[in-house]
């Protein structure tokens, strides 16, 4: 039985042909890898001195404590605040009163469409410059809160709407009021559906903390910048930084998949578009 919508189960001739393709592909991939390693070697990027900082305990500690830990702190504070922001505006968008739902809609649509960097610049010049050391840190947290909050507002809205209608109808039928229906019936069920999407949003927030570069915020990228400015080892630093971000993000993705399996089951994960009114897609 074919497991694939594109291809039928291969016969003997096709299997033989695929074997040739496989060999060619392996040769090609090894060629590309070899070329990269050779370029690195030929330009002296594999020299021990350039990699030494990443084997020195003091620098490893700086990368992990001043870098990774601060980055994680920023990302998680941003997402926690964003959940609150998203909850207020997501529920606000569903309000029956136009004077509540309309402004909420405008705020959410506006901040989903505006690049985070513009927001960061505004927050920095309004708040960050006057608050010394912590200024840049909170600039990043606040701008990410607003941006991710706007995205999460959409997630909350979609999550609440994904709860079967009968639930709300039954709650009204037993005499609950609108607030009670939302707080006791809809939100607790919606949170389960939304949890994976919220964890995935942590990946986006974590990646975006690196944009703090522009306001000289602390974090992994800032530590990396100090290291490569001191040792002139741009290539190794970039590789190490990327490796660290990738590892943490993969762990977060694993957590999201686990939450999906545990709380949502086989149903399709909740997806909302980055902006506009498209009904599918994923925030990047």
């Amino acid at each position: 039985m074919p497991a694939n919508v594109l291809f039928d189960s291969p016969g003997p001739a096709t299997i033989a042909r695929h074997r040739i393709y496989t060999v060619l592909a392996v040769i090609g991939l090894i060629g590309v890898l070899a070329f990269v390693v050779w370029r690195l070697y030929a330009n002296g990027q594999l020299e021990y001195e350039l990699w030494e900082p990443f084997l020195t305990p003091a620098y490893i500690e700086a990368l992990l404590v001043d870098g990774l830990l601060v980055t994680l702190e920023m990302a998680f504070s941003a997402v926690l605040l964003a959940v609150v922001f998203g909850l207020i505006f997501g529920v606000g968008k569903l309000s029956d009163h136009a004077w509540i739902s309309w402004p909420c809609w405008a705020v959410v649509e506006f901040f989903r469409a505006v690049p985070v960097l513009l927001l960061m610049t505004l927050v920095f010049y309004s708040y960050g410059v006057n608050h010394g050391e912590g200024g840049a840190y909170w600039t990043v947290v606040l701008s990410l809160m607003v941006y991710n909050g706007a995205v999460l507002a959409e997630v909350f809205r979609a999550g609440i709407q994904a709860v079967p209608h009968g639930q709300a109808e039954a709650a009204y039928a037993v005499g609950m009021r609108k607030t009670q229906v939302m707080n006791i019936i809809m939100l607790p069920q919606a949170v389960k559906i939304m949890l994976p999407a919220i964890i995935s949003q942590c990946v986006v927030a974590l990646k975006d903390t690196s944009l703090g570069y522009v306001v000289a915020a602390p974090g992994l990228t800032a530590v990396g910048r100090l290291i490569y400015n001191q040792f002139e080892n741009q290539v190794p630093t970039a590789i190490v930084l990327a490796g660290m971000y990738i590892t943490v993000n993969l762990l977060l993705t694993l957590a999201a998949t686990w939450a999906q399996k545990k709380f949502v089951g086989e149903k399709k994960p909740l997806e909302v578009s980055a902006v506009g009114h498209l009904d599918d897609g994923r925030a990047v």
Partner: protein, 227 residues
């Protein structure tokens, strides 16, 4: 606000760079992403795995780090784009610009690949089986049954990816392309008192650009919708 109105030519030039970055990287990422997607869903197992690794690595790296690779680390291993030097009026397409386009392309292509793959996955297996059952050859199955449906399903996520690319072009401003974010930052830097007016005017133009892309995507989706 005044500084924006007094320097409308600079603002226009900045957004020209933004749109250029978006269009060039958009087209290139579609081409490269389609190639990746073809390998990702193709029958050769090794290529499947290789593209999957590429997508995982790139998707989990911040764009800023990708740009650091091409703008700051790249030149150290001889990855320079000095051969690009185009000048059209006031617009100068230099090695900096090219490096940024390459970085945006490399980053966005991974997301394009995933969007296209999700489109292919959205086609029910029964469709292909039915096509084979009535005797359509491989080409016919693809052309008439699978790909039209896959492409329709891929339009909304692709639009999302391209809108994200439009917003991501701002990161190039950090690395010396004088696009919208760069201009907004330098305005705010010289006139901090007008920061709200400056932010609002640039943000509104961005919202407008995003709405244009999303309008076209909606049009495409509507035109290609099957009953």
């Amino acid at each position: 606000m005044e500084i924006v109105l007094d320097n409308l030519d600079l603002v226009a030039l900045a957004f020209t760079y933004t749109v250029l970055l978006f269009l060039i990287a958009g087209v290139l990422s579609m081409v490269f992403g389609t190639l990746l997607a073809a390998m990702r869903v193709g029958p050769v197992d090794v290529l499947n795995k290789a593209t999957s690794v590429y997508v995982t690595l790139v998707r989990n790296t911040p764009l800023l780090i990708v740009l650091i690779f091409f703008r700051i680390a790249g030149p150290k291993v001889g990855l320079k784009f000095g051969f690009v030097e185009i000048e059209i009026g006031e617009i100068r397409i230099t090695d900096l610009f090219t490096a940024c386009v390459v970085a945006l392309t490399v980053y966005t292509a991974a997301f394009v690949c995933e969007a296209l793959r999700s489109g292919v996955n959205a086609v029910p297996l029964g469709q292909a089986e039915a096509a084979r059952a009535i005797g359509l050859p491989f080409g016919g199955t693809m052309r008439n049954v699978v790909l039209p449906q896959a492409f329709r399903a891929a339009v909304p996520p692709l639009a999302s990816v391209q809108i994200a690319l439009l917003k991501n072009t701002t990161v190039c401003g950090i690395f010396g392309v004088s696009e919208a974010f760069f201009r907004m930052h330098s305005f705010t830097n010289s006139e901090p008192g007008e920061r709200y007016g400056i932010f609002i005017s640039f943000a509104v133009i961005f919202v407008f650009l995003v709405e244009i892309v999303s309008f076209f995507a909606n049009q495409l989706e509507r035109r290609w919708r099957i009953a």
